[in-house]
């Protein structure tokens, strides 16, 4: 089978460009045979990671880039979002579902990422933060039937 398929996206730190990453992730999800709703979930997780990369990581600095690698392999489709910021420790972020945080108007992005994909991994590198979002592909897609679609 004709895998992996990859798309890499490098964008300047402009918030409206998050939609480019959103669309790219949604389409890769569809090509990976995710259900329409699950492809949207992948896109929403990527959206949250890219928003954070632009706002918190790169602090809207137009000279800093956000890089998104989306890869469809046999069993998974995964997106890695990298920024050029100083990183953070996800375990130290406040729980947005705690009583005292419920009325905050932000702080729910990571919660949403975790809900929308099967696995979320954070890594701090020398260049910045790296967030990997992993979605399992449906079993059906991994057997013969997806072959026809691989090269259309």
């Amino acid at each position: 089978m004709d895998l992996p398929r990859t798309v890499t996206l490098v964008m300047t730190s402009h918030l409206p460009l998050v939609d480019v990453a959103h669309s790219a992730a949604e389409r890769m999800g569809e090509f990976a045979d995710l259900e329409e709703d699950e492809a949207l979930n992948l896109a929403l997780a990527v959206r949250e990671a890219v928003i954070n990369a632009v706002l918190h990581g790169n602090r809207n600095d137009p000279d800093r880039k956000v890089r998104v690698d989306i890869r469809c392999s046999e069993r998974t489709v995964r997106a890695t979002v990298r920024d050029e910021g100083s990183g953070f420790s996800p375990e130290e972020t406040p729980d947005p579902t705690a009583e005292e945080n419920l009325m905050r108007s932000s702080g729910r992005g990571i919660l949403m990422m975790r809900a929308f994909v099967d696995d979320v991994r954070f890594r701090r590198t020398s260049r910045g933060m790296e967030v990997t979002l992993i979605k399992n592909r449906p079993a059906l897609a991994r057997t013969g039937s997806a072959d026809g679609q691989a090269l259309r």
């Binding site: 998050v18 929403l44 959206r47 949250e48 009325m103 108007s105 729910r108 919660l111 809900a115």
Partner: protein
């Protein structure tokens, strides 16, 4: 905020549309599209602020046709709720669809918002 930009910057299906129906003392805000950062959230904020500034303190957000929200969108819902409360008004929710409802549950905000399935019930509750 420059409304022209918000509205022009997205293809038709995606821009959040907000229209008001005044039913008795209640302002029903019919929303359709998506509530996302830098666009839908701003449209929502503007619409609710306008209502509150105009003295409309009972606001029902009809979410039936909202396809999805991101964290900024749900954050804006909370911001609207707080803004109304400060002015002794209230913001309630009508008919959140599958994806939006799941998000309210995930974030535990269904415990905060009064949410209704029937518009008549919602109207009677204010």
């Amino acid at each position: 905020m420059d409304k022209r930009c918000v509205e022009r910057s997205k293809t038709e299906e995606q821009t959040l549309k907000a229209t008001v129906r005044q039913i008795g003392q209640v302002s029903v805000l019919d929303l359709s599209g998506r509530i996302t950062i830098g666009e839908g959230d701003l449209v929502l904020r503007e619409a609710v602020t306008e209502l509150l500034d105009g003295g409309n303190m009972s606001i029902l957000l009809n979410l039936k046709s909202v396809k999805y929200m991101d964290s900024a969108g749900i954050g804006e819902l909370v911001a609207c709720y707080k803004k109304a409360k400060e002015k002794k008004g209230s913001v309630k929710l009508l008919n959140p669809g599958g994806k939006v409802y799941d998000l309210l549950v995930l974030t535990k905000l269904e415990e905060v918002f009064e949410t209704f399935r029937e518009e008549s019930e919602a109207l009677a509750s204010f």
